[in-house]
Subunit: 124 residues, 2 copies
Amino acid sequence: MVKKLTKTPGSALRLRVHLDAEAFLGPGKADLLEGIAATGSIAAGGRRLGMSYKRAWLLVETLNGYFAEPLVTAATGGKAGGGAQLTRLGQEVLARYRAMLAASEAACAKDIAALRKLRAKKTR
Amino acid sequence: MVKKLTKTPGSALRLRVHLDAEAFLGPGKADLLEGIAATGSIAAGGRRLGMSYKRAWLLVETLNGYFAEPLVTAATGGKAGGGAQLTRLGQEVLARYRAMLAASEAACAKDIAALRKLRAKKTR
DNA sequence: TGCCGTTATAGTTTTTGAAACATAACGGAG
DNA sequence: CTCCGTTATGTTTCAAAAACTATAACGGCA
Protein backbone atom coordinates (compact mmCIF):
# COMPACT_ATOMS: atom_id res chain seq x y z
CA MET A 1 0.00 0.00 0.00
CA VAL A 2 1.16 3.49 -0.76
CA LYS A 3 2.06 5.54 2.24
CA LYS A 4 -0.77 7.82 3.11
CA LEU A 5 -0.74 10.88 5.26
CA THR A 6 -1.90 10.23 8.76
CA LYS A 7 -4.55 12.71 9.73
CA THR A 8 -3.18 15.67 11.59
CA PRO A 9 0.29 14.15 11.78
CA GLY A 10 2.06 15.91 14.60
CA SER A 11 -0.79 16.12 17.02
CA ALA A 12 -1.32 13.93 20.04
CA LEU A 13 -4.85 15.16 20.35
CA ARG A 14 -7.95 14.49 18.40
CA LEU A 15 -10.64 17.03 18.91
CA ARG A 16 -14.26 16.68 17.96
CA VAL A 17 -16.41 19.72 18.48
CA HIS A 18 -20.12 19.14 18.82
CA LEU A 19 -22.16 22.08 17.63
CA ASP A 20 -25.28 20.15 18.55
CA ALA A 21 -26.66 16.64 18.32
CA GLU A 22 -26.40 16.35 14.55
CA ALA A 23 -23.53 18.63 13.70
CA PHE A 24 -19.95 18.08 14.69
CA LEU A 25 -16.54 18.92 13.42
CA GLY A 26 -13.57 16.60 13.78
CA PRO A 27 -10.11 16.13 12.30
CA GLY A 28 -11.41 14.62 9.07
CA LYS A 29 -13.54 17.56 8.03
CA ALA A 30 -11.02 20.11 9.25
CA ASP A 31 -8.11 18.53 7.40
CA LEU A 32 -10.23 18.32 4.28
CA LEU A 33 -11.11 22.00 4.47
CA GLU A 34 -7.44 22.73 4.78
CA GLY A 35 -6.65 20.53 1.81
CA ILE A 36 -9.27 22.22 -0.32
CA ALA A 37 -7.96 25.63 0.61
CA ALA A 38 -4.43 24.54 -0.26
CA THR A 39 -5.13 22.73 -3.53
CA GLY A 40 -8.17 24.53 -4.90
CA SER A 41 -10.06 21.29 -5.47
CA ILE A 42 -12.10 18.77 -3.54
CA ALA A 43 -10.52 15.90 -5.42
CA ALA A 44 -6.93 16.98 -4.79
CA GLY A 45 -7.62 17.98 -1.22
CA GLY A 46 -9.11 14.59 -0.51
CA ARG A 47 -6.42 12.71 -2.38
CA ARG A 48 -3.66 13.92 -0.16
CA LEU A 49 -5.58 12.65 2.85
CA GLY A 50 -5.92 9.28 1.19
CA MET A 51 -9.67 9.55 0.81
CA SER A 52 -11.76 8.84 -2.24
CA TYR A 53 -13.36 11.71 -4.10
CA LYS A 54 -16.74 10.43 -3.07
CA ARG A 55 -15.88 10.54 0.58
CA ALA A 56 -14.39 14.00 0.29
CA TRP A 57 -17.38 15.28 -1.61
CA LEU A 58 -19.76 13.77 0.94
CA LEU A 59 -17.94 15.49 3.76
CA VAL A 60 -18.16 18.78 1.92
CA GLU A 61 -21.87 18.31 1.41
CA THR A 62 -22.30 17.55 5.09
CA LEU A 63 -20.31 20.59 6.08
CA ASN A 64 -22.26 22.84 3.77
CA GLY A 65 -25.46 21.49 5.26
CA TYR A 66 -24.43 22.49 8.75
CA PHE A 67 -24.67 26.21 8.18
CA ALA A 68 -27.04 28.53 6.43
CA GLU A 69 -24.32 29.42 3.95
CA PRO A 70 -21.86 26.99 2.34
CA LEU A 71 -18.29 26.62 3.54
CA VAL A 72 -17.10 25.42 0.15
CA THR A 73 -18.11 26.56 -3.30
CA ALA A 74 -17.26 24.54 -6.38
CA ALA A 75 -17.43 24.87 -10.13
CA THR A 76 -17.27 22.27 -12.88
CA GLY A 77 -15.40 22.43 -16.17
CA GLY A 78 -12.84 24.96 -17.23
CA LYS A 79 -9.11 24.94 -17.72
CA ALA A 80 -8.34 22.63 -14.78
CA GLY A 81 -11.59 20.74 -15.04
CA GLY A 82 -13.15 22.64 -12.24
CA GLY A 83 -12.27 23.51 -8.69
CA ALA A 84 -13.40 24.49 -5.25
CA GLN A 85 -12.63 27.12 -2.68
CA LEU A 86 -13.42 27.99 0.87
CA THR A 87 -15.89 30.76 1.41
CA ARG A 88 -15.22 33.37 4.05
CA LEU A 89 -17.32 31.29 6.41
CA GLY A 90 -15.34 28.19 5.54
CA GLN A 91 -12.14 29.98 6.32
CA GLU A 92 -13.47 31.14 9.63
CA VAL A 93 -14.69 27.71 10.67
CA LEU A 94 -11.35 26.18 9.76
CA ALA A 95 -9.43 28.89 11.57
CA ARG A 96 -11.51 28.41 14.68
CA TYR A 97 -11.01 24.66 14.63
CA ARG A 98 -7.27 25.10 14.30
CA ALA A 99 -7.30 27.63 17.11
CA MET A 100 -9.19 25.25 19.36
CA LEU A 101 -6.83 22.42 18.60
CA ALA A 102 -3.79 24.55 19.30
CA ALA A 103 -5.27 25.88 22.52
CA SER A 104 -6.19 22.41 23.68
CA GLU A 105 -2.77 21.05 22.90
CA ALA A 106 -1.19 23.77 24.92
CA ALA A 107 -3.59 23.17 27.77
CA CYS A 108 -2.98 19.40 27.77
CA ALA A 109 0.74 19.31 27.08
CA LYS A 110 1.89 18.68 30.59
CA ASP A 111 -0.66 15.94 31.29
CA ILE A 112 0.17 14.21 28.03
CA ALA A 113 3.85 14.27 28.87
CA ALA A 114 3.10 12.84 32.29
CA LEU A 115 0.98 10.05 30.86
CA ARG A 116 3.60 9.15 28.33
CA LYS A 117 6.17 8.99 31.04
CA LEU A 118 3.96 6.62 33.01
CA ARG A 119 3.68 4.42 29.98
CA ALA A 120 7.40 4.56 29.31
CA LYS A 121 8.52 0.99 30.01
CA LYS A 122 5.87 -0.72 27.98
CA THR A 123 6.84 0.55 24.53
CA ARG A 124 6.51 -3.02 23.29
CA MET B 1 -35.38 1.93 23.17
CA VAL B 2 -34.55 2.58 26.77
CA LYS B 3 -32.96 5.90 27.40
CA LYS B 4 -29.27 5.44 27.84
CA LEU B 5 -26.76 7.85 29.19
CA THR B 6 -25.04 9.78 26.50
CA LYS B 7 -21.33 9.67 26.96
CA THR B 8 -19.99 12.66 28.80
CA PRO B 9 -23.36 14.40 28.72
CA GLY B 10 -22.72 18.09 29.22
CA SER B 11 -19.64 18.37 27.09
CA ALA B 12 -19.43 19.82 23.63
CA LEU B 13 -15.97 18.38 23.19
CA ARG B 14 -14.74 14.93 22.60
CA LEU B 15 -11.10 14.45 23.37
CA ARG B 16 -8.93 11.59 22.28
CA VAL B 17 -5.42 11.57 23.64
CA HIS B 18 -2.85 9.60 21.69
CA LEU B 19 -0.07 8.29 23.87
CA ASP B 20 1.47 6.77 20.76
CA ALA B 21 0.44 4.93 17.64
CA GLU B 22 -1.24 2.03 19.42
CA ALA B 23 -2.40 3.55 22.68
CA PHE B 24 -5.03 6.18 23.02
CA LEU B 25 -7.52 7.33 25.55
CA GLY B 26 -10.93 8.67 24.63
CA PRO B 27 -14.30 9.33 26.26
CA GLY B 28 -15.31 5.67 26.27
CA LYS B 29 -12.41 4.42 28.33
CA ALA B 30 -12.41 7.44 30.60
CA ASP B 31 -16.12 7.19 31.35
CA LEU B 32 -15.74 3.50 32.01
CA LEU B 33 -12.92 4.09 34.47
CA GLU B 34 -15.13 6.56 36.22
CA GLY B 35 -18.01 4.10 36.29
CA ILE B 36 -15.83 1.39 37.74
CA ALA B 37 -14.54 3.71 40.41
CA ALA B 38 -18.10 4.70 41.27
CA THR B 39 -19.72 1.27 41.25
CA GLY B 40 -16.92 -1.06 42.24
CA SER B 41 -17.53 -3.35 39.30
CA ILE B 42 -16.77 -3.60 35.61
CA ALA B 43 -20.25 -4.92 34.90
CA ALA B 44 -22.11 -2.17 36.73
CA GLY B 45 -19.79 0.54 35.46
CA GLY B 46 -20.36 -0.58 31.92
CA ARG B 47 -24.09 -1.03 32.35
CA ARG B 48 -24.70 2.56 33.18
CA LEU B 49 -22.94 3.56 29.99
CA GLY B 50 -25.17 1.20 28.05
CA MET B 51 -22.37 -1.13 27.09
CA SER B 52 -22.25 -4.90 27.31
CA TYR B 53 -20.09 -6.50 29.95
CA LYS B 54 -17.90 -7.92 27.26
CA ARG B 55 -17.23 -4.54 25.75
CA ALA B 56 -16.47 -3.03 29.14
CA TRP B 57 -14.17 -5.89 30.03
CA LEU B 58 -12.39 -5.60 26.71
CA LEU B 59 -11.77 -1.92 27.27
CA VAL B 60 -10.38 -2.65 30.70
CA GLU B 61 -8.06 -5.26 29.26
CA THR B 62 -6.90 -2.80 26.63
CA LEU B 63 -6.31 -0.13 29.23
CA ASN B 64 -4.37 -2.48 31.46
CA GLY B 65 -2.23 -3.47 28.51
CA TYR B 66 -1.22 0.12 27.86
CA PHE B 67 0.87 0.49 30.98
CA ALA B 68 3.35 -1.63 32.85
CA GLU B 69 0.96 -1.84 35.78
CA PRO B 70 -2.81 -2.34 35.56
CA LEU B 71 -5.26 0.50 35.95
CA VAL B 72 -8.00 -1.79 37.16
CA THR B 73 -7.80 -4.81 39.43
CA ALA B 74 -10.65 -7.29 39.69
CA ALA B 75 -11.61 -10.29 41.74
CA THR B 76 -14.15 -13.04 41.09
CA GLY B 77 -16.60 -14.57 43.56
CA GLY B 78 -17.39 -13.37 47.04
CA LYS B 79 -20.31 -11.60 48.63
CA ALA B 80 -21.26 -9.48 45.66
CA GLY B 81 -20.02 -11.98 43.11
CA GLY B 82 -16.80 -10.14 42.58
CA GLY B 83 -15.75 -6.60 41.86
CA ALA B 84 -13.16 -4.25 40.49
CA GLN B 85 -11.36 -1.11 41.54
CA LEU B 86 -9.05 1.46 40.13
CA THR B 87 -5.44 1.23 41.14
CA ARG B 88 -3.58 4.35 42.10
CA LEU B 89 -2.34 4.49 38.51
CA GLY B 90 -5.89 4.13 37.24
CA GLN B 91 -7.00 7.00 39.39
CA GLU B 92 -4.19 9.15 38.14
CA VAL B 93 -4.86 8.40 34.49
CA LEU B 94 -8.53 9.18 34.95
CA ALA B 95 -7.81 12.38 36.84
CA ARG B 96 -5.44 13.54 34.13
CA TYR B 97 -7.95 12.83 31.40
CA ARG B 98 -10.60 14.78 33.26
CA ALA B 99 -8.17 17.62 33.78
CA MET B 100 -7.32 17.70 30.10
CA LEU B 101 -10.96 17.71 29.12
CA ALA B 102 -11.76 20.54 31.51
CA ALA B 103 -8.79 22.56 30.37
CA SER B 104 -9.66 22.05 26.72
CA GLU B 105 -13.26 23.04 27.26
CA ALA B 106 -12.18 26.22 28.92
CA ALA B 107 -9.73 26.93 26.14
CA CYS B 108 -12.31 26.30 23.41
CA ALA B 109 -15.37 27.87 24.98
CA LYS B 110 -15.33 31.11 23.09
CA ASP B 111 -14.73 29.50 19.70
CA ILE B 112 -17.49 26.99 20.28
CA ALA B 113 -19.90 29.75 21.20
CA ALA B 114 -18.93 31.63 18.07
CA LEU B 115 -19.42 28.60 15.84
CA ARG B 116 -22.80 27.90 17.35
CA LYS B 117 -23.82 31.43 16.72
CA LEU B 118 -22.79 31.12 13.09
CA ARG B 119 -24.91 28.03 12.79
CA ALA B 120 -27.86 29.63 14.55
CA LYS B 121 -30.39 29.94 11.74
CA LYS B 122 -30.11 26.40 10.52
CA THR B 123 -31.40 24.61 13.61
CA ARG B 124 -33.58 22.56 11.28
C1' DT C 1 -15.09 18.05 -32.00
C1' DG C 2 -12.70 15.46 -28.85
C1' DC C 3 -9.80 15.56 -24.64
C1' DC C 4 -8.94 16.35 -19.76
C1' DG C 5 -9.60 16.83 -14.86
C1' DT C 6 -13.05 17.97 -12.01
C1' DT C 7 -17.70 18.19 -9.94
C1' DA C 8 -21.75 15.54 -8.95
C1' DT C 9 -24.33 11.26 -8.00
C1' DA C 10 -25.96 6.41 -7.77
C1' DG C 11 -25.25 1.71 -6.75
C1' DT C 12 -22.69 -2.18 -5.03
C1' DT C 13 -19.29 -4.51 -2.39
C1' DT C 14 -16.04 -5.03 1.29
C1' DT C 15 -14.39 -4.19 5.65
C1' DT C 16 -14.73 -3.34 10.30
C1' DG C 17 -16.64 -2.64 14.64
C1' DA C 18 -20.24 -3.58 17.71
C1' DA C 19 -23.71 -6.32 19.51
C1' DA C 20 -25.67 -10.73 20.85
C1' DC C 21 -25.31 -15.13 22.58
C1' DA C 22 -23.14 -18.80 25.13
C1' DT C 23 -20.24 -20.86 28.89
C1' DA C 24 -17.23 -21.64 32.61
C1' DA C 25 -15.29 -20.54 37.05
C1' DC C 26 -15.05 -18.15 41.32
C1' DG C 27 -16.26 -17.61 46.29
C1' DG C 28 -19.07 -16.02 50.07
C1' DA C 29 -23.83 -16.59 52.03
C1' DG C 30 -27.76 -18.88 53.15
C1' DC D 1 -23.98 -27.65 48.29
C1' DT D 2 -26.74 -24.60 45.81
C1' DC D 3 -27.59 -19.74 44.57
C1' DC D 4 -26.10 -15.23 43.00
C1' DG D 5 -23.65 -11.64 40.61
C1' DT D 6 -19.43 -11.07 38.83
C1' DT D 7 -15.12 -11.98 36.19
C1' DA D 8 -13.37 -14.07 32.07
C1' DT D 9 -13.54 -15.78 27.15
C1' DG D 10 -15.00 -17.76 22.79
C1' DT D 11 -18.22 -17.68 18.87
C1' DT D 12 -21.58 -15.96 15.91
C1' DT D 13 -24.61 -12.24 13.87
C1' DC D 14 -25.54 -7.84 12.30
C1' DA D 15 -25.28 -3.18 11.12
C1' DA D 16 -22.81 0.78 10.06
C1' DA D 17 -18.87 2.78 7.81
C1' DA D 18 -15.84 2.93 4.27
C1' DA D 19 -14.13 1.55 -0.14
C1' DC D 20 -14.87 0.60 -4.89
C1' DT D 21 -17.10 1.06 -9.35
C1' DA D 22 -19.76 3.38 -12.71
C1' DT D 23 -21.82 7.41 -15.11
C1' DA D 24 -22.90 11.88 -16.60
C1' DA D 25 -22.10 16.73 -17.22
C1' DC D 26 -19.32 20.79 -17.37
C1' DG D 27 -16.29 24.03 -19.85
C1' DG D 28 -11.83 25.67 -21.44
C1' DC D 29 -8.47 24.30 -24.98
C1' DA D 30 -6.04 22.28 -28.84
